[in-house]
Each structure stands twice: as C-alpha cells, then as structure tokens.
C-alpha cells in the first residue's frame, strides 16, 4: 500500500470552492426552509419567527396524505417502468456495433435538450382528440374515430417516463457496456436459454446498477411539477403542485416548507430502504 503523505493546508484549498458553493446554494437555503417550517404564519401576510409545530400538524389532512401517496406511487411506478424497459433496451444497444451505439445515444441525448414544458405541451397535442395520434390510427383504419388520450393517469405516466427514460439509459449504459460478453456465453454453454441467461446472469450480475437506476428515476420523478398539470387531472397532481399552491397562491410559506421537509424525509427513508434491499440481497448471496 502506498502511504499517504500528510497533507498541507494547500491540499485542502481545492475543496474550498465546492464547499462554499454547496454551502451558499444548498445548505443555507435548506436551513432557511427548515427553519421557516417551524415559524408562525401571519394570515394574509408572511411569517414571524418562532417555534411551533402547527405547520406540521396542519399537514394532517386527507388531501395532503392522498397527494403524498400519489406522488410516491407515480414516482415508483415510472421508475419501475423506465428500468424494466430501459434495462433490456440498453442491453441490446451495448451488444450493437460501436457506431450504431453512438447514434442511439445521441438520439437519446437529444431528447434531454428539450425542456419539460415543450415535452409536456407536445404530448398534450399528440394525445389530444382533435390533432392527436389517434387521427393517424383512424386514417390507418385501426380505430373508428379519434379519442382524447389525455388528460389522465396514463398520459401522465407516459410523459414522465418519456422524460426519465434517457436518464435511465445513461445510468445503465456504463455498467452494461462493461459487462463481460463471456458471461452470457458461459451461461449458454452451461445450458441456459437466452431468456434465462438474461434474467439469471445479466440482470443478476448488474443488480446494483438496476437499483441505482431505479432510485435515480424515483427521485427525479418525485419533483415532477409541470407534467401533472399539463397531462393529468387535478387528482393526478403531485405534492410539488400542492407545495407551490401553498407557497405562492395561499402565501403560506411555513406550511409549504413543512410539506417540503416532510416530503423529503419520507423520500429519503424510501430511498434508504431501497438501497438496503439492494445491498441485503447482495449480502445474502455473499
């Protein structure tokens, strides 16, 4: 082992910049929000400093509970959809020739260059009755008459997955392309059919990457704010919408802050649980 040299003050200088940035733009605002969540609301005004749990007590409503559950549910569902489609998809890309791989990756990246707003409105148009894809199906003779596919749960799920899919592929691509091509071949020489090989060897040996991709999409989707309002009905609105509503339209900053803090804690717990399940499985096979 190479012995580490004692570091001078200089060595830590490089850390000053990121620490400063993290502090100013992340920790301080977060701290402010955490503090505000305990402040006293001034009806019709802003808030006065203090310490009370009223804001958290006010969270205990059916609407908040339902919205929280729905936010977690749609995030989990879209993460599951993205990973279960993205994993085989990425696997097939990595088995292609290098040049074809690059084309696919560029195509996916180009989706990332579109803003959420554009994607949302584009899909609302494509899923509409008057100008949507169903008109094409009618023209092709596949449908009787055009129907509106939005707003609704399916449209929302679809939109979210469309946004999160490129990220899923980007997270899964490095580990999948590093997978030793001899692994699936070995499984086949041992008698496993291609499908069985895929599940027992490819999925099995990349379980950590799958958990990582799932967590990434889950967290990414939790913050969905625009798409639920464009593609969903009010009952499909996520907690982000509710928080914005409290903060801006009701000018109830302390409540919004409490919602945000509570939401974040619940998500953190869920992410930690998911990671533990991923690790736990690994320990079992060790």
């Amino acid at each position: 082992m190479i012995e580490e040299k004692p570091k001078g003050l200089r060595a830590y200088l490089t850390l000053v910049y990121p620490t400063l940035m993290l502090g100013i733009f992340f920790i301080v605002p977060f701290g402010l929000m955490a503090a505000v969540s305990f402040f006293h609301r001034q009806p019709g005004g802003f808030y006065t400093p203090g310490f009370e749990l009223t804001n958290y007590k006010n969270l205990y409503t059916a609407l908040f509970g339902r919205t929280l559950m729905f936010s977690l549910f749609i995030a989990g569902l879209s993460a599951a959809v993205c990973v279960s489609i993205g994993f085989p998809f990425t696997y097939f890309i990595t088995r292609m020739k290098r040049r074809v791989q690059v084309v696919w990756l560029i195509l996916l990246m180009s989706v990332l260059s579109l803003s959420e707003v554009i994607v949302g409105f584009a899909w609302s148009l494509l899923l509409s009755r008057t100008a949507g894809l169903t008109n094409l199906f009618v023209w092709l003779g596949l449908m009787e008459r055009p129907v509106a596919l939005y707003p609704g749960f399916a449209a929302l799920l679809f939109g979210i997955c469309y946004l999160a899919f490129p990220y899923t592929v980007l997270v899964l691509y490095p580990p999948l392309s590093r997978l030793d091509p001899a692994l699936p071949e070995a499984a086949q020489t041992l008698g496993a059919s291609p499908l069985r090989t895929f599940f027992t060897v490819v999925v099995g040996s990349l379980r950590n990457a799958i958990v990582a991709a799932f967590v990434m999409v889950f967290v990414f989707t939790l913050g969905a704010y625009l798409l639920p309002q464009i593609l969903g009905r009010p009952r499909h609105w996520t907690l982000s919408v509710l928080i914005t509503d409290a903060a801006i339209y009701q000018t109830n900053m302390p409540l919004a802050a409490a919602m945000a803090i509570f939401f974040m804690s619940v998500s953190l717990v869920l992410v930690a649980l998911t990671m533990m399940i991923g690790k736990g499985k690994k320990i079992r096979t060790t």
Partner: protein
C-alpha cells in the same frame, strides 16, 4: 466414426476471414490442442464447435450427428473462457452448480455435486465463498469445475491459463492433464504457447496466420516432422535453409550438397525447397573439415547460458544455429572458422 468431425469449415466476419477450409477429425477421449499465433482463428474454431458461432460454410459432426446449427445451450459441452466468466453475483457453489440449476435438479443434489467437483479440483471447503474472495488459481479451478458439472461430452478451454504466472501455469497444466486423463473426456484447449501444447496434448492442431490448419499430429511428430516451413518455424526453433533439390536424395544449399535420408513424395529435381533442421541436431566442428553434409562458416556469436550453449555460424550469409550441452561444447570462439555438420536423418525437406 465416433468423435468430432469438422468438414470444410469456413468462417467470415464480414470481409474478415477467421477460419479457412478446416477439415479435422478429433477422436474421442483425446486431449487436443489448437495451437497458433494470435489471430489465426483458433478461438473462433473453438467457438464454432461450442455453438457460440455459426460457420459460414461447412458442417460439424459429433458422432456422425450434424450439430452445425444447434445453439450452444442445447449442447452438453463444458467451456472455460479466457476471462473465466465466473458469475460475480453467485458463490463458488452456485457457480459450479449453475448448469444443474438450469436443468432443475433438486437443491440438495446440486450442492452435493458442487461439493464433489470442488473436491475434484482441490477446492473443498470453499463452496460458500464469494468469487471476489478467490485467488487467480482458485478461480481457474472453479471455472473448470463449473464446466465439468454436467459431465460434458466435450471439454473446451479457451486459453484459460494465460493469465496465470509462469509457475502456477505449469502446475495447472499438469493438473489439467491429469484431470482429463482421469475423466477421459474429449478435451480441446486453445493456446498460443507451444510449450503448453507440447506438455499436455495427445494431438496438436497447428494453425497459421493464413487461418488454415497446417498440421495435426502428436506433439513429437510435429516437432520432428513439421509439415511446412511455418510449422517448423513456429514449433520450437529451426534452421530454415533455402536450397534446390539436386537428386533423389540430395539438396544443394548455398553450393554445398546435403544428403537427405527422406525426401517428400513426388519431389522432382531442380525444385526450390527449404531444409529444416533443429539447432540441437547441428554439430559444430572446429576448423574447416571437408566431407558430406557440411557447411563452412565463421562463428558470429556464442550464447552460453550455462545449461546449454548456442553457436551462431555465418556460412556465406546463411545463418545456422547449433545448440549443444555444456559437455559437448565445441572448442570454438567468436571469429573462428568452423564447420557445421547436418546429419542426413535430421534434415527435413519442405517444399518452399
């Protein structure tokens, strides 16, 4: 005819030819080495046999049954990959019994068989270890045990020993050979290491950079009677002397007449040939001695490594290397005039 037969096998990857016109019959129960320089198509040939690739032309028969288009997973072959390809998310035992798990054997039988195989490769007690906790040599053994779990019809190995250090490699060669003899399973090993091929195999298949099979024979026969200049040069070291056949049992090399014990069939006079002779067959005499099968020259270099002595002779621009034991060392030094004796029985004549 029992055994594995390859008929007119060609394999192209796009415009690249990997294997060209291979015809082989590999008898049952033998240890066979595919030997050749890198890029000669030996691994591709092994993968064709395993069913991991489809030949562009030709047929593969196992005990007279055509297996050319049967995919790898329907065969009953065991294969050890160059990277070993052990499943990183499974324990040693789970790796070894994977083929039984796929075949839905019951759990306790799987474990028992894994235990047996680990005993066979001397890894008893490691059944519940994780792959990352094993050393290189241990991984090697696990890969072999895994490939042998279903008692394969063919045991295929793709340069599995190349990643090991020299000492361990020699131990494994010996062990693998003994394992193969005990199980009497037809084994094909791909290697570029001729020493490895010589140590282990009953039969050596030599492939050349033209992606063809040059010779298939026992290791000693290949060493003594190489089929062509490529084999003579690739297997061990050889003096390759260009000459012209000047009689029914005679070749002229740079003006000197060499008597030859055995000429290739149908050799006509005045044909360009190459005479191959192993360095240990060349005797060096001090001074210029007249006589048959002698070439005269100057000693250009003496390499004395203790266990053997190599003398380089420059005979009119033709370099001849002689190797002898320290006891039989000729009394010559660099710059001396000397004579190389090429015995008729040691000269192998090859068509150029």
């Amino acid at each position: 005819m029992s055994g594995l037969t390859l008929e007119n096998i060609d394999k192209n990857f796009g415009a690249v030819v990997a294997v060209r016109d291979v015809n082989l019959h590999l008898p049952d129960g033998q240890f066979i080495c595919f030997l050749g320089p890198s890029g000669c198509g030996k691994t591709t040939l092994l993968r064709l046999i395993a069913g991991l690739e489809k030949p562009s032309r030709g047929r593969i028969l196992l005990d007279e049954e055509d297996i050319t288009h049967i995919p790898a997973y329907k065969h009953n072959f065991g294969m050890v990959f160059q990277s070993l390809a052990l499943f990183p998310h499974m324990t040693v035992g789970e790796n070894v019994s994977y083929s039984l798990r796929v075949r839905k054997t019951d759990k306790s039988a799987q474990r028992q068989r894994a235990q047996e195989l680990l005993d066979l490769v001397k890894l008893s007690g490691l059944i519940d270890r994780h792959i990352s906790q094993l050393s290189g040599g241990q991984r090697q053994r696990v890969a072999m045990a895994r490939a042998l779990a279903i008692e394969p019809k063919l045991f295929l190995l793709d340069e599995p020993l190349s990643a090991l250090d020299a000492k361990l490699r020699e131990d494994m060669q010996l062990e693998l050979r003994m394992l193969q003899q005990r199980l009497a399973v037809t084994t094909i090993l791909v290697t570029h290491d001729q020493r490895e091929a010589m140590t282990m195999s009953d039969l050596v298949v030599v492939m050349g950079p033209d992606n063809r099979v040059h010779q298939m024979d026992s290791p000693l026969e290949i060493y003594r009677n190489p089929a062509d200049t490529f084999v003579a040069d690739f297997i061990g070291t050889s003096n390759l002397l260009d000459g012209i056949s000047s009689g029914s049992r005679e070749v002229t090399v740079s003006g000197a007449r060499l008597e030859i014990a055995e000429m290739p069939d149908g050799m006509t006079p005045d044909t360009k040939v190459t005479v191959s002779i192993r360095p240990e067959e060349v005797h060096v005499l001090p001074d210029l001695e007249k006589g048959d099968n002698r070439l005269h020259g100057t000693v250009s270099f003496v390499r004395d490594v203790g266990s053997s002595v190599e003398i380089y002779l420059d005979c009119n621009g033709l370099q001849i290397v002689s190797q002898s034991t320290p006891k039989g060392r000729p009394a010559v030094k660099q710059g001396d005039q000397a004579t190389a004796v090429l015995p008729p029985t040691a000269c192998v004549v090859l068509r150029s």
